[in-house]
Amino acid sequence: MIIVRAPLRMSFVGGGTDLRDFYHMSPGRVISTAIDQYVYVAVNRTPLMKRISVRYSLGEVVDHPRELKNDRVREALLDLGIEHSIEIGTFSHLPGHTGLGSSSAFSVALMKGLHAALGKNIDKHGIAEAACRLEIDLVGDPIGKQDQYAAALGGFNVLEFRPDESVVVDPVMLDYQRRREFENHLLLFFSGIHRKAASVLTEQKANTVRNRETLQAMADSVFEFKDRLMEGDFEGLGLMLQSAWERKKLLSSHVSNSAINGLYEAGISAGAWGGKILGAGGGGCLLLLAPPERQKTIRDTLKKRAAELALHDFQELPVRFAHSGVEVMVNSDHSRMMA
């Protein structure tokens, strides 16, 4: 039995510039951090049982991987040539489609676990690359590469996506005081609206050339965000998030909708400096940057607004950053000894 975990992530600015259509023209950049919420994947080889069993929000038992409905597991197994005798299960504290990169965290944990089951130990960069290949090339999702790298590497990083497909990682070295101060200025709410990144990104991808200037400005603003963070200018960061959100709404008609706008505006009017919807937009989580003394008012206001908007699953999620990335937590496979 092998148990792997990979963290979810919050991205601050630069999302969308990690799409191939953009970074093939000029380097994309994202600043993001892993958070202490994880997706777990358990992989178990079953030599005495030939069938393939996969458990996620659904359960599937099939004779051959090509029969699987779960596209990520299907393509991963076919690509790695695992055709029988395996059980795969996934577990998480949070629901999927919240905009915190959970589907890529799943792919990262899956690839790490499957390679471990084959007795192969791949490093974090290698796993990020494998997860990108799985999601973008094999499954064909119109998504970028930031989530796979955030989940594989962990920590707080500036990720740069080069035209030659390489990814350069520049860790943002915050000491514990600055890190805690920043955490204490952030409020994260799940809107209660589940959304799939693909539906938003398909349109955004098609508009990449038209949106080039906007995307370029987003990629460039990553440096300013990092500098202000190092200085502890949280109000400045809030205002940057707000202008990034304004820019992002221009990218695709699906990025925002009236319910999300309602929550966002309620947060700003209650005293937040700025914020954004995490993920590709259209639902997911609302992140607000606000002075600690206004946070109670903001919480109360948003709760009320969410009730008016009939967002029954609306809730606050506590925010703590995480350093660790994808990790094999348990490996009791015999193949490990032969590695």
Binding site: D36, M173, D175, Y176, Q177, R180, H323, E327, V328, N331
Partner: protein, 200 residues
């Protein structure tokens, strides 16, 4: 005599001034990540470096948490290798001196762990052997070296090199001691800050 004393102080002070901040920050990140995943930290070196390793283990496992010892706070799991003289002599006598760290490391090491290797020359074959073993399993390595850094500085993920002339062991080891104390103090302050309200 006083001039000699001041001269040595000056050598250590100027070596201290070249501490690689960013690499030390990287090392703190490796330790933080290891704590988050409940991994262990193995530390080793030869002679004076082994003494530094042992001293650090005591500080890191206990002193870091000295204000929270009775509160059930999960502590670091730092382990000096080899853990016993018996293992040290058994590996050295039966297999070879180059295996005294790599041998015991292979008994313990899991993928979620981390390694701190100390070698003033950066060239000690037994230290390099253990570092290569850790890296073959993608376990992150913090390397504390001196002189020109040697092979250890080439291999390490966090490259803490105190560049000095060859053979300046006293200077290098003094600065290594400072850096290990810096790590202790950083995490002591960190846990006091994080747990202060509830546990201090």
């Amino acid at each position: 005599m006083e001039k000699y004393i001041r001269n040595f102080g000056g050598l250590v002070a100027s070596a201290l001034a070249t501490m690689p901040d960013r690499e030390i920050a990287r090392a703190m990140g490796i330790i933080q990540a290891t704590y988050e995943r409940d991994g262990k930290i193995y530390i080793f070196g030869n002679g004076g470096s082994l003494a530094l390793a042992t001293h650090w283990v005591s500080d890191f496992n206990k002193t870091v948490f000295s204000r929270h010892l009775t509160k059930g706070v999960r502590r670091f799991q730092a382990i000096r290798l080899p853990t016993t003289e018996e293992e040290l002599t058994a590996w050295a006598n039966d297999v070879g001196y180059e295996m005294v760290f790599a041998g015991p490391l292979e008994n313990y090491m899991q993928e979620i762990d981390a390694v701190i290797a100390i070698s003033s020359s950066g060239a000690s074959p037994n230290v390099i052997k253990a570092v290569e073993f850790a890296q073959s399993r993608h376990v992150p390595v913090i390397g504390l070296s001196g002189f020109d850094g040697g092979r250890l500085n080439e291999l390490a993920d966090a490259k803490i090199l105190i560049r000095t002339e060859k053979g300046a062991y006293e200077v290098v080891e003094s600065v290594h001691g400072t850096i290990l104390h810096l790590m202790t103090r950083y995490f002591k302050d960190y846990f006091d800050h994080a747990l202060g309200a509830r546990n201090a």
